[in-house]
Amino acid sequence: METRNSIRPPGPVVIDIENITKEYVMGEEVVRALRGVSLQIRRNEYLAIMGPSGSGKSTLMNMLGCLDTPTSGRYEFNGKNVAEMDDDELAAVRNREIGFVFQTFNLLPRSTSLRNVELPLIYAGINPDRRVERAAQVLADVGLGDRIHHKPNELSGGQRQRVAIARALVNGPSIILADEPTGNLDSKTGEEIMELVENLYQHGNTIILVTHERDIAAHARRTVHLRDGLIEMDHVGFIPELDLPVAR
């Protein structure tokens, strides 16, 4: 796959995290999920976040996705301070700036593909005509132009994930945040989804992939390894055999 080596020039900084920590109180114990993580992500990057379970990978993803706020540290999203936003402001950022792709797809089971993809547009307050038009367009872009009136249980796993990707794209977000997007798919379908993601990257989207699978992470142009709440390695490219940073 020759495209894998083509790194598109990164744009301005989208995500700027400096020394963030996150602590949870579980019973009497304080769990320090992140112990001071700094990270910059630029527009048009394709980044994989890797790490074993308990490494703080999920916590970092929740931070990046503005689902949660850090205990301390600075987090700027497109120059705006996210760390101090309230729930509704965070919801607005998630709605406009972040496209989520989940391992379990998280589609509304009784709604059609179209209706599922419309959801972020509804929360953005777009009028119905433009909403339907836009949602149908994005569904066609991910290759489901003929499936817009199907419900999730009438679609295959790969098709469901395509609907979810369309939903993530529909508001034109700054980043696509994919959490184990192939985790519930067989490897062939998973590869197809990763091709779609590659395609999105080639069309100028910023991708953040959270995964523990090396084959999947290998699609990214940059890999961040987490261990025990700290960034262990942050390197460009991927060496599956060694899983070591290449020299810059």
Binding site: L67, D88, F100, N106, Y123
Partner: protein, 416 residues
Amino acid sequence: MKRFLYELGESWKIAAAQMRSNLTRSTLTALGVIIGIIAVTLMGTAVNGISIGFDKSMAVLGDDVLYVTQWPWKPVDDWWNYRDRKKIKTEYAETLNRMIAATPNSNLVVAVPTSNFMRSIKYGGNQVNNVFVLGTTSDFIITSTIDCTAGRFFNELESRGGANVVVIGYDVADALFPSENPIDKSVLINGQLFKVIGVNTRQGTFLGLFSWDSMVAMPLGAFNKYFSAKTESDVRVKVKDKTRLADAKDELTGLMRRVRGLPPEKKDDFSINEQQAFKSTLDPMKNSIAIAGLFITGLSLFVGAIGIMNITFVSVKERTKEIGTRKALGARRRTILLQFLIESTALCLLGGFVGLAFAYLMCFGIGKAVPSFPIHFSLGLVLISMIVSILTGLFSGFAPAWTASRLDPVTALRYE
């Protein structure tokens, strides 16, 4: 505001889809509200009916008529002070009328004497017992709201002459003359023949209170001639301007004191009553019936509301992951709150509609089967039921909806 309406509209769609997909559950839950609304609405119609019945009965007394009586129209503790009062005599009316005529700018119009007695009345083989027989003058028609469906009230000539004529109530006419025209027929009261000259318009009865329907009126002269013994007499006096009822009452009190020849230091030895006095005795009774009835039926609606609350809680729990997803996609707290509130409200409103429809049919059925049962269905009642349904929905949906809106997106997304 526009944004709010937009969200409202979208939430409606989601709620409708939700109800459709959980049809059995929604129906069963709504059933609680349906029963509640039926109970409350039927109670409302009954309360309405009772109230209208009371007012109708009151209207017979007239709101511009004062009644001179021995006993006051209210419960008294010192009954011995009233027991030995002199009886009210029918002759007072004439004296009062002369005084009224002599007073310039009097606020009183005319005084009418009435005497009454319970008697049975016969025509052919038909007999009606315990008929309220009233002896009065032709001026009675001025103080009263009654009309005649057939014939007429007796005139001044018949009144002065004490002619043997009667005007009979609707029910009396119905019982005595099932298939005949009563006018000009002669009925037997206390062994005397009286010619029927008029039949009153049907007034309807309520709890057997003062209805003209079961009553007979005749000239006072004739009444005194045949039923002279222990009769109860009152004088009723029509007031010119009912907004100045208190002045009229004072004036009449003065006149009556002159009639009785009371020196200033003596207390009144008669009572002057108006419709209002009766109302203030009966209203608390009416209100306690209404409050008790609505409270008890309200409980059944409350049970329905708890059903809705329960199901909304279950729904929130079941859809935790969906709520997480919606939040991740940018749903704000208010949006989630609104979505669940509308779901519970829509369910209640639907239950309200169905309940109301049933209640209406039941009212219709009861009205057909038992026409005398006091029941009254009104548009106001429909509106109130709808508002109560909406409030029930908001009340029962609020706690679960609030819980949903406060869910932490991270926890909600992880929920299985």
